[in-house]
């Protein structure tokens, strides 16, 4: 059963969404950034439904965007934003950071559940592909910066993805990437890639 982390500070709403999901998914709940991060560290989460406005700054998207960045940088999960923060800038930032979907409150439950189903399907398919040795990466390209920048960005993302899959095991990652360990160390230094606790 796939695991969903529901990050929402409104307990009444959180319980209702939980109720509609818990038949088909294992649901974890968090109402602050800290609770969300703790749950992510200790559980394997497939999908996150994230409210951006969380305490202590529930009227700004800061807390939610920090969770978004934290989770997508470290875990292979799908992120669905469910928020009342209606500005193009926030939506753009969330999608740029890698959010799977962006839903505005109040959204119909059908819409939320469809989004969850789609995210689940994508996650399952990607996991299958991973088993077959195929990694899917997404890149944001800014036009007009030259091909080298794009190549570097692609290299960085591929290496980061494999490192995450191997829990930063350099030998194993080098093997999976088909490069020498020395070359991988060179790239780690070049892109400034470190393990979480080394940040």
């Amino acid at each position: 059963m796939a695991t969903i982390l529901l990050v929402e500070d409104d307990i009444a709403l959180r319980k209702q969404i939980r109720f509609s999901l818990e038949d088909n998914f294992s649901v974890l709940e968090a109402e602050t950034q800290k609770e969300a991060v703790d749950l992510l560290k200790n559980n394997s989460v497939d999908i996150i439904i994230l409210d951006l406005g969380l305490p202590p700054n529930e009227d700004t998207p800061e807390e939610g965007l920090q969770i978004l960045e934290y989770a997508l940088k470290r875990y292979n999960c799908k992120m669905i934003i469910l928020t009342g923060q209606r500005t193009e800038g926030i939506a753009l930032e969330a999608i740029k950071s890698g959010a799977f979907d962006y839903l505005l409150k109040p959204a119909s439950m059908d819409k939320i559940l469809q989004s969850v189903e789609r995210a689940h399907l994508f996650k399952e398919t990607e996991d299958e592909l991973v088993k077959m040795g195929v990694r899917k990466i997404s890149l944001d390209f800014e036009m007009g910066k030259g091909l080298q920048t794009w190549r570097d960005e692609a290299d960085k993302n591929i290496i980061l993805r494999v490192l995450k899959d191997t829990d930063f095991n350099v030998s194993q990652s080098a093997k999976l990437l088909g490069v020498k360990r020395e070359s991988l160390y060179y790239f780690l230094k070049k892109f400034g890639l470190k393990r979480d606790h080394e940040d």
Binding site: N57, G84, K105, A107
Partner: protein, 356 residues
């Protein structure tokens, strides 16, 4: 030539100088008095440009200005008056980023010293108009800013409430078996206190500054210790509560007052680890006093704490404590920040009953 012969000339010249000086003094005093009257008129009309302009002409006429005309543009608003009296004019054009003022006066005459007086009159009038325009722009910008913050405050809850209703109605139609029904009811029970707190917050905010005397009252006896224990439990705070007291009041108002204070401790506890709080409830005659203190960071700018839209939190709306103080005042009570060795402390004083 005898020196005595030129004495009359000196006397005459002296007299002329005295007369000129007296005249200039009279003119200056008259003009300055009119300036003060103009400034006073503007203040009496609350620096309202639209009210000031039609009233200014009679005062200007006293200082020999037959007419004045203007074209003022600010915030997509245009105020305009054409020249109605014929004659020579003196004009001034002020062009800034946010506004534009074209101002002209039609003096009765512009000869000699009057020309310079006319220039001063034009400058003073332009200054008054510029000040009014700036005040108008500032007031409108501030009102819009405050309105948008207030809107954000209500919208956050309103959107969550709308989403809650949407989810609730979806789930109600999908209670297939007894187990699901039980689980659904348990979830609702679990969140009832939260819903009541949210309702209290919205109603209190919308009712702010309104005198509800004479309206249907929902007063009841409230056990303060129980109410505070519930709030502390909802925010999962480490808190010691001492004392006990009851009051007769509308519960949603009392919840709002204390929710805002306890919520601040909760917000602080998310940033500062290990914060604990202490609550002391005492009964003093016809009043109850509730002291709420925490071990977090101390209060900065204590005097501004209850100022609306003032917040030390980035992105904070600065409505909570203002709202609490406001509700307490409508209940003939008060809230104040107390000097505290470590952390922040507040004292809430409320009458035991509203009918004394």
């Amino acid at each position: 030539m005898k020196i005595e012969l030129i004495y009359p000339f000196f006397i005459f010249a002296g007299l002329v100088i005295i007369i000129v000086l007296v005249y200039l003094r009279y003119l200056s005093r008259k003009t300055i008095r009119s300036f003060l009257e103009l400034i006073d008129l503007n203040a009496r009309l609350d620096f309202d440009l639209h009210a000031f302009l039609p009233e200014a002409l009679p005062l200007l006429k006293k200082i020999k200005i037959e007419d004045f005309f203007y074209e003022i543009h600010y915030l997509d608003i245009t105020v305009k008056k054409e020249q109605s009296e014929k004659g020579a004019t003196i004009e001034k054009n002020l062009e800034r980023n946010d506004y534009r003022i074209i101002l002209g006066i039609v003096p009765r005459h512009s000869k000699g010293e009057q020309y310079y007086f006319n220039l001063i009159i034009l400058e003073i009038l332009a200054l008054i108009l510029e000040m009014d325009v700036l005040i108008k722009i500032k007031v409108i910008h501030e009102a819009l800013y405050k309105f948008s913050r207030l809107q954000a405050f209500v919208l956050h809850d309103a959107k969550n409430l709308a989403q809650f209703i949407e989810s609730l109605s979806y789930n109600v139609h999908r209670l297939e078996n007894v187990e699901r029904k039980e689980s659904f009811i348990n979830y609702l029970k679990e969140t009832l206190t939260f819903q009541s707190r949210r309702g209290a917050k919205i109603i209190s905010l919308l009712e702010m500054k309104q005198d509800t005397d004479g309206e249907l009252s929902l007063e009841k006896t409230i056990n303060m210790r129980l109410l505070l224990e519930n709030l502390i439990q909802q925010y999962k705070l480490q808190c010691t509560i001492e004392g006990e007291a009851s009051i007769v009041a509308e519960e949603y108002k009392v919840i709002s007052i204390f929710d805002n204070i306890i919520r601040n401790i909760y917000d602080k506890s998310l940033m500062e680890k290990g914060i604990t709080c202490l609550i002391e409830i005492t009964n003093v005659g016809n009043l109850i006093k509730v002291m709420i203190a925490d071990t977090g960071s101390p209060v900065e700018e204590g005097a501004r704490l209850f100022e609306p839209f003032y917040s030390t939190k980035s992105g904070g709306l600065g409505i909570g404590l203002f709202q609490s103080k406001n509700i307490a005042a409508t209940m003939k009570g008060d809230i104040r920040a107390l000097p505290w060795e470590s952390g922040a402390a507040f004292e809430v004083v409320l009458p035991v009953t509203q009918h004394m």
